[in-house]
Each structure stands twice: as C-alpha cells, then as structure tokens.
Subunit: 458 residues, 2 copies
C-alpha cells in the first residue's frame, strides 16, 4: 500500500492532465446531438484503463450509450469489488452563466472547473488512478476488481438494467463501490447511508389544432397553459405535502434512532441556502429541512413550456403546453407504481376538453446501505486515515439508479463513498471539483482496496 500511495503522490500532475483530457470530451448523454462525443468518452476511458494495466477493458454497445466493462481478477480467494461510475455528463446550458468554457477545464484557486469535474468524471478517475497505483508500483491489487462505467447516468440509466442482466455472471462480487456522492462538509468525509430513487417523465396538454387569438377565444375555452398551472398546483397541498393519491402509501419511515443519528450530520441550513441564494425553506410539515431534502419523497417540475416566450407580447392561447416532472422516491416506494399514480393524478386534474399524453423518461428505486457490511468498515478506516476524522453517515437526496440495480440484479451491497461538496455546483454552471479532494479521494480508495482486501472476507 505504501508503494501505491507514493505512486499516487508522484503522479498527481499527470492525473490532473488526464482528467482535463477527459473533461474536454462533451459526453452529454441526454441530447442525441452529442452521441459521437459520448462514444469518444467511452473510448478514451477504455484506453485509459488499458494503460493503467487493467487486464481487460471492453466498450460494450447498448441501445443508447456504451458501457465500459473492465475486469482485473487475479485471486479467487480475495474479495471482489465491483466499482461503478459514469462518464456521461449533464447538459452545460445555460452556457452564458459559465465563467469559463464548460468543456475547456480551467483551474482557479485549486478547483478544476468543467462540466463533469465532480459528477462524475473526477470521481470515476479516482478509482482508475488508485487501481493503476497498485498495478504499476507492486504489480498486484489487494482485491479482485471489476468496473462498470456507464454513459447514461444523467439520462436515467436505461441500458444498465439489461446490461447487468446480460453480464451478471461476469459481475459476481462482494460489494459495489460507487463514487458519485458527497462529503459531509469540507474536511469531513462521508459514507452515504441512503439515496432517493426517481421517476421522471414529460407530459403534454393539447387543446386546439393551432394557436388561437386570445381575444376571440379567451374566456370561452380551457387554456392549456392555465390548465398546466392548475395541474401543477394540484400536486401539493398548501402546507407542502404531496397531494397525489397514494404517494405516501409505501413510504418506509425512518426509525426514531435513525432520525436521531441524522442529527449528527453537519448541516448549516443558513449557509446551505445562502450559497445558492435561496431566501427560505418550504418542507413537508413534521420534518427538518435536511430530512425533507433526503429521506422524504418529492414531486418537482423540472421544466415547463408553451405559448409565446419571445420579445414583447403575442396575444395567443397556445395550442399546447408541456412540462417535465419528476418525483424523488424513498424506500419502499416502487418507481412503476409512483409513475402510474402521478399519471393518474395528472389525468384526473386535466379537464375533458384537454388531451393529455405522457412520455416516461426514466425510473430508479431508492437505496439503503447495510450498516454492518464489512466494506463499510474498510472504507471508514481508509477515510479516517486520509482525512484524520471519522466519516459521517450521510443521507443523500439524489438518485443513482445504477446503484439500486447493482443491488437488485447483482445482489451487491452498495458502498457509496464520494468526495463532492454541496458548493460544487453539480448540474449547474461553473461545476467544479477541488484538486485536493481529487488527490485525497484517490488515496482513500487505494487504502480501501488494501483494508478490504485484508478484511473483506470477514
């Protein structure tokens, strides 16, 4: 392990340069226009795995974007880590709010700015670099390692399910190592104890076969934009509870002990709001802000459109309105069930004269981590040695559909160790990642490999 850690220190500048090369590839998975770039991202990554000395690294085609499957299995007696990451990124828009080009990485004040810097190229490369450190310095990895790096995390991981089903015999293992989450706060590492699931779709409300003059038809027919407003308003009651019938039916409440444990998570509400310029909270009654953002289900509009949005005025009643809507899920909500309930609610709140159509865009279930898994202990020890403080057990509000699939299809316990911060502007302009965290992340994973290699069988 010591030789691997020295290797990491010596090669830090090269690691940064390689990360920059990776970040220059605009592998935006949600937009078909970037499909070639997503492919380029996959090829770049597979080549990087080969130069790292990993036995086998394949780029496997799917119906949408390729998945990298890599294997370095040397000793059946060692425990096996299946590492997960994603090389695709969110769209960069709005472009005009970036200080520097989202696909021309720029280092300012020790932070690297680019789309994907922390979510998830920077974190994915920590796994690659930690692995290479062993293979190049001692020729031997303390664990058997398999890697699954997908290109559809930002567009709901549709291909992951079929992929895992198809390759599940090759993806046997003991733990799923997932580096796509955050630390507790600067300097305090974390392991994520739970993540929310997601249901995402778009829907359309159509009234007429053309845009209508608002003077001639206004007052006499349902306006699709007004109806969209009424549908959106119907999703919550005035206090912030979700008003979709059956939404809370299957929600597994946290125990009093678990909620008490959550109080140890550092959370400065005022700072959390101030960083993003938000003036106040709005939460489901009976829950703290942090609980509302992590362990409770949500329904949020992610986009709305319809009618005239150009300069000045246009006096029309639009023929059609559209919206993107998503729900965050908690254990034991079932994505398919919530998708149905949301659609039924929207349909029931749309008047008969308006035609409603749905386009599902993705689902993923929530995950909870087993607090007694040996991987957790090894990871905690590694993190504490690097950061000099023990990790906090975090609750994450986001979703990593692939983590739930690895649990459900492969039977692997998810181990979520991440190095992001709330201030990293994930999914927003000026996304960035601290180069110190990048280095400490590589070192933490290297140490985890070593301790889990020793104790993983326990």
């Amino acid at each position: 392990m010591d030789r691997a850690l020295s290797f990491i220190e010596e090669h830090h500048q090269r690691h940064i340069g390689e990360l920059e090369d990776f970040l220059r590839i605009p592998s935006v998975s949600t937009d078909p226009e970037f499909a070639t770039d997503v492919n380029r991202g996959a090829d770049w990554l597979a080549e990087r795995l080969r130069t790292a000395g990993i036995d086998k690294a394949e780029v496997i085609k799917t119906d949408i974007h390729p998945i990298i499957l890599a294997e370095h299995v040397t000793d059946p007696k060692k425990p096996t880590v299946v590492a997960y990451g994603h090389y695709d990124v969110q769209p960069p828009d709005p472009l005009d709010l970036w200080t520097s080009d989202p696909f021309e990485p720029t280092v300012r004040d020790g932070q690297i700015f680019a789309r994907g810097a922390v979510d998830d190229k920077g974190q994915l490369m920590m796994i690659v670099n930690a692995t290479e450190a062993y293979l190049k310095s001692s020729k031997e990895l303390p664990v058997n390692l398999k890697m699954v790096f997908e290109g559809e995390e930002e567009c709901a991981s549709e291909s992951m399910g079929p992929f895992l089903e198809k390759y599940k015999d090759r993806l046997t293992g003991d733990v799923a190592l997932i580096c796509d989450t955050s630390m507790a706060e600067p300097g305090i590492p974390a392991i994520t104890a739970s993540l929310r699931g997601i249901v995402y779709m778009e829907f359309f409300l159509k009234s007429s076969n053309r845009d209508l003059h608002s003077g001639l038809y206004g007052g006499a027919i349902h306006n699709p934009l007004n109806v969209l407003g009424r549908v959106i308003a119907s999703l919550h009651d005035d206090d912030g509870r979700i008003a979709v019938a059956g939404m809370y039916d299957d929600v597994r409440d946290l125990s009093a002990a678990e909620r008490e444990e959550m109080k140890r998570i550092p959370f400065d509400e005022a700072a959390w709001l101030e960083t993003v310029g938000v003036r106040g909270t709005w939460t489901e009654p009976g829950y703290t802000t942090l609980e509302a953002a992590t362990i409770r289900p949500t329904v949020d509009m992610n986009g709305v459109w319809g009618g005239y949005a150009g300069e000045g005025s246009k006096t029309i009643i639009a023929a059609e309105a559209g919206a993107k809507i998503s729900a965050r899920l908690v254990p034991d909500q079932t994505p398919d069930d919530i998708m149905k309930k949301l659609q039924r609610h929207i349909r029931e709140h749309t008047p008969e004269s308006i035609e409603v159509t749905f386009n599902p865009l993705g689902v993923g279930s929530a995950i909870n981590v087993d607090p007694n898994h040996p991987g957790l202990k090894s990871a905690a020890r590694a993190l504490e040695e690097v950061f000099k403080v023990p990790p906090v057990m975090l609750r994450g509000g986001g979703s990593i559909p692939a983590a739930a699939m690895m649990r459900d299809v492969l039977g692997l316990e998810p181990l979520l160790v991440g190095f992001g911060l709330d201030t990293d502007r994930v999914h927003a302009p000026d996304e960035h990642f601290g180069l110190d965290r990048f280095r400490m992340g590589i070192e933490s994973i290297a140490r985890f490999f070593s301790y889990y290699g020793e104790n993983g069988g326990a």
Copy 2:
C-alpha cells in the same frame, strides 16, 4: 359614386398585385429583428398613398415604429372621416405549420394566404383603394379624409397615445373609421358594437442564483415552476370565474335588451370549436359561450417558460420561471387599475422566498359604439347594398387599443367595419383573406364615403 365603383372593378387585379407587394414585407412589430422591415412597410404605404392621389402622406417617426399620417381635406363643410389601420403584423411562428411562406403571398381557392392578409394589411388597403377610386375617377372625395396607419398594433400601440396627443389639432373629425374587425359570417356583413380592452405583462419568479440539483434541494425549498403553477391556478376559481380581487368591481353589465340583441348574432358553437379542434367550452357561469368570448373579462396565460425543455431529462430545480399573462377588459374597467390588481394578486400568491418582478407590455381600454351615430347609418346602408343583407351588430372579443385612444384623445366615435372571418386564422399559421371580401370591402367603403358625405352632418 358610380364612377368610383367602376374604377374599383376595373382595377381589381392591380389592387391584388399591390396587396401582394405589401404582404411580402415582413413588418413584424413585436420583434426588434424586423425593425427595418417595419420601416420598409411604412415607406411602401406612404408611397402608395401618394400614388393614390392623396394630398399629403407623411411617415412620422416615433420611439418604436413609424406612424403614417395622411390628409385629404378639401371642403370644411364636408364631414371628416379619420380612418385607422395598421401595417404591422404578428410574428409568423410556428413557421413549419404554414402551407406556403407567410411572406410570399399565395392565392389558393380565391383566398390570399400570408401573414397580415386580413390583419390588417388587406383591410387597410381597402380604405386606400376606395379613396383612390374617387380621386382618380372624379377627382373629388365625398368626405374630408384623414388617415392614421400605425405600426404597433400587434405590440400594444405604445406610440399611438403620444402621437395622437401631439397631432390632435390636425386630427379633428367626425368619426373614426376602423377596418380591423370581422363579418358576422360568410355573406353577412357586420358593424362591431363593442371590443374588449387589454392588459398585457410578463412576470418572473426567481428563487436561487443558479439552477439547483433536484435531488439535493427537492422537497426543501419552493420550486419556481411549482410556484408558477400555484400562481396560475389561483387566477380562477373552479367554476371559471376570475379569482383576482376586485376584477369585476367596475364591469358594466350589458342590459337585458343588449343581451337579447346579441342572440341575433349568428354563432354556431359546434362549428366554432371544430374549426380549431377544441373539444369543449369552459366559461364563466351564467354566460353563453359567445358572451364569455366577447363581453366578459378574461385572464389568460399567453406563454410560460422555465427549467429544462430540451430532449430527455435534466434533474434540476430551475432558478427562475417566467410567464406572459393578459387580461381582456370590458367597459368600464380601467387598464391601469386591472394591471395593479393583477400584480397585487400575483405578488400575494407568491411565497416570500420567491422574488417576483413584473414587466408591463401594454394596455388598451374597451370600447362601445354609440348606436345612434350618423356614421353607423351610412355604413349600414353601404354594407346592405353590397352584401344584399343588413349588417349584424357584433360584439368583438379582441382589442384595438388605438380605437379606444381615438375615442379618448380625439373625441371621435369609433365606427368598426370589418371583413374578416373567424376561419381566417388570424394570428395563426395560414392566415388568409378572401379576394371577394377584399373587393366587396373596397366597394362598401366607397359607398360609405358617399353616404356619409351626404348625411354625415345630420
């Protein structure tokens, strides 16, 4: 008059050709990108007025788009008509729904298809051609004529108020002839007895200084798109009444006799809906569909936007949402008062954590026509002679802010005679105007000049 009518018949093909030239100029007033074209439209029209033999035709600059002021005053004893029209047009989008280019006029089945064909270039040219017929055939017009042709009707006529104030000494007269309305139905002419006014603005709801990850913040803060929905939903009660406080305070109800009179307006509700593909009505309780669309106030969203509207999914809570909203007004609602009440309502329905800002985009008050004005009698006689049936007194749901201003600033009684049809696709793709109506409109106005010249002083 007979010589003028013969002239009109002989020059019909030339009139069509000139209208086509006029329609080729994309004088879209709402979009600054078309400013040069709007100017071109004004210059073309002024030149056409000069070739028609009108004494004086000036292009007068304003803060936005020029206004044409023309005068042909020969005999102080004759009554004076101040004619109004507008040479600007609505934006042509969505372009892909046009059968032929919106700015390359095409005649199909006796209808001329182009943006502005009926609203209002075709109707404006009827006044010009009727005037020319007198000046070229007998050298003498039966009335004194002044013309005001503006270039901002489709963007709320902001310059008209200051213009009329500035030139009101030159714009004295007896009646304001406005050709920008519709017939009762094919073959049945109409004079419009009332028009609704309008208040138009956009507003913005801002929550954060960047788009936020919906997993990290969802459930804990107000989402501007969800809030927009709640604001929109709050504008009406469940039955279709406007729920904005004070909205109905100043509404002058029509008398029982006036409502009875309205029953004579031909209105085929099923056909009216079917033409535009709408499956049902939604009206204020206690009013017929036609009443709801013409003599009752409305509040309609004209556009909404915010968040992600591209392909696939993006899991964000948008920093900001925006919307365009307008109200149609009836006598005696005051535009400034309704603007204030709408803004107060929106502000009161926006939670404290969301910043709301407004951008007013235009106002115009409603108008009612004096049923005893001599201009009305002359116009009714002219229309009956051309169409062989007496005109119906229509109620219009749209707004012509300039008509209200001519009444308020110049003290002119508005006379609204128009030749559009509900099926002309005004403000929509494939706008068109019947060439037969174009000819009969010119003839009607020529006859009106003659009868009003004889009887206008009465």
